[in-house]
Amino acid sequence: MVNEKNPVLQLSDLYRRFESGQIDRRTLLARAGMLGLPAAVLTNFARALPAAAQDASPEAGPLLPGGFQSMTRDEFTARLAEDYPFTTEEQAPGGTVIFGISQSSSLTTLMPPFANNFPTQDFVLLVFDTLVGSYPAGGAEFTPALADSFEIAEDGQTYTFHLNPNAVFHDGTPVTSADVVFSLESLANPSTNSDYTGTFNMTVGSWEAIDDHTVQIVAVDAIPQIVFFANSFLYVIPKHIWEGIPVENWQTDPGATGQDPSRVVGSGPFKFAGIDEGLGIATFVPNENFYDKAPVIEQFIFQTWPDDTAAVEALRSGDIDILDSPIPNDVASLAEQENLEVALFPSYLYNYFGYNLDPEKTTLFQERDVRQALIFALDRQAMLDTIYAGLGQIADGPQPVLSEAFEPGAFTPVYNYDPELAASMLDAAGWVVGSDGVREKDGQKLSFELIYGAGQVGDQIAAAMQDYWRAIGVEMTPAPGDFDTVYLPALTETFDFDVFMGAFNWASPNGDQSAMFMTGTRETGFNSSNFSNAEYDELSQAANVELDPEKRRQLLIQASQIVHEEAPVGMLWFRDGRVGYNVRLKNFTPTANGRFWSMAWVEVQS
């Protein structure tokens, strides 16, 4: 019996039918694509493929020979000491740190299940602990957090976490396995109204408290550390505060909205002191009882600065100490100022454009040469320099810099700016320049619209692309539209477009881009181009069941090469994250993996 409500069960049913020979692999994939699963999860079930299925049989031995042992807290501390020597130094206490962000909305919640945006997640994670963290320097390495360490068993799917025995909530109650179990249960409950329940339930199968400080989590399958990649946010909330309140009421509870600070109780390095609507701020103070390094500053204030130019000036004048994402064109002048510094680091954010490969929508981009030629025609470095003040790097392959599978130089062809090559490729493909200067073939003009979300930056990028393409006889008309009501529906519902252009924040280092490029993920994922390539599907699925990290990486790189060469999308550039700050904040070190990981060591100098 197939449970209509659970796509995971439907998928395993499909798998059984595949195994018994009722359906072939393509049918399996096609049907699986229609279940509404995120492709990242979907591909994990490609274990049904013969090769992987044999590995899974008991005769083949353990999936993860010897299991996996995470970094311990001592090892973590030692590595920090080596990479960031200030973590071994003493800091003078006191001082206020004011964090500014130019964004209209304020902190949207103080309760982890509802934190679904930056900067809310970052601030909520100052107050609440997660089971594991990630190493500040970047990459996909897990560090101790509430758990001193964890192991993965040889089956590749049983995770055992050892909680720090000294951890207490801000109200003095010890943190135990019961709190972890309670947190996981609430995340799994659809009525809690957390955004991440779906992904959680598709990756995490069961959990139990082994003893007061040991928790075991079993993933639905032997997925390469997927439990955390999909749920990098395994937070722990206090059972004694929340168990009496129906989950339906959590989101509006004063303990979640921050109106009642006494009910915002976590076990993280900072305590929540309150939100003041009249001052437009939220205040956090150190948790002196933190089991690891406690911060020494007196208070940490969050303030929104709706106007981004004014926010930059507030940083200049010293009104605020930290400004997240200052305007790119101001970065150079901020960095020049004596009392300021701007930290630049890679991010998951990239700009790109994509062709519509669905012949029912347009037949212009069916030839690979056309798709490649249009990329060759763009001077991406010049565009990045003008539009984003050069803050980023030209995309080489589809994997962003922070991805495990980022491998610059591995991909062919190299899309260097080469308008002559672009023109000759189009010539060779039979697209000849007509009397009006626009290329045509078989009576069809190489003329199309570029849709994008209306805005100044989009206009700049579109205008540049228009110029570069016009130079090789291609006519593109920029078609900006309201992001929510015009652009998004075209990309995710109607697919009525020629070429789209936008930015994407692929906030996961695990390199799995199947949600973007795998067959059948147009409706369920982000594959607006409707790209379909059997070899890519196979490689990508193989990568997501490969437990050996290096082998997995190689598979992802091979899959990425196909995307790079087939060019369903043109990757423009990977953007830098940037945080401007006042140098009076000694030791403040924002990195790609966290704006605030160094807050415990920050000293405010006068």
Binding site: T96, S104, N193, G198, T199, T304, A314, R316
Partner: protein
Amino acid sequence: MIAFIVRRLLQMIPLLFGITLITFVIINAAGSPFSDLQFDPRVTPADKERIEENLGLNEPLAKRYVIWVSNVLRGDLGYSLINFRPVSDRILGVMANTLILSGLSLLISLLIAVPLGIYAAVHRNSIIDRLVNLTAVAGYAVPTVWLGLLLIILFSVKFSEWGLYSLPVGGVQDLRGGGGFWDRVEHLILPITALVIPQVAVWLFYIRSNMLETIRQDYVRTANAKGLGGRAVLYRHAFRNALIPLVTLLGLSLPDLFAGALIVENIFAYPGMGRLTVSAIGDKDHTMVMGITLVFAFLVIIGNLLADILYAVVDPRIRLD
């Protein structure tokens, strides 16, 4: 008079329905506040649907409007869809800030505009009159965004660079242990300046032209002919009559006091109604936008009513019924 007021208050009811209904349709057409979730690789389309269902956002528009109205009638404006705090709490939380900023700006604008306007009218075509006119046109024409940023760059950033006394860029008070009276005043100077400059210009035009009209009236000539002194004529006779339209305008600007300044509050990171409105619209926070609209619509209607009443009070020739 009482019948008039009652009638106007009753007329208010369909008006409020109309305004809120239109706003409801528009803000819903602008899309879901959760559309960003579509781009979070960890959120499935099913999650987004579940959340919208949990919050009742997938119900038919008409049904949702009826629910909203019935809640409002019970005094419940609902929760913000962005930070889930009660809409009324969020509005009340910033109202005082807005009243201070807008109230002081209006007061200062009038204190500058009234005497200047009268002076300019009385000394029509003098150099001062022309200068006042020119400045007023300039003040009115300057975009507030530009003016605000210019003030910040000069008085906060450059003054501090030059080692002069500098003003804070924005906010309500110094967050590093401030909060005293002078600290609050310091934080108000730049936003008030940015508001007053264009406001003075508007008031100046009204006052000057009203005054000009009044001093050309027969009764002023009569008063002059009776041999009354210039000042007495100007202030006791002409000015008081020139004030009548001014009173109306004051009534009409009542909602502005509460609505706050959209642009100035944003630039100066001043938590008030204007900024709340802008962010609610940007976030597509349906309930927040509806709550704010209701409050403003109510104030506009009351302001109009007040203007009519005041008009009758200051001008006995006008009968309300």
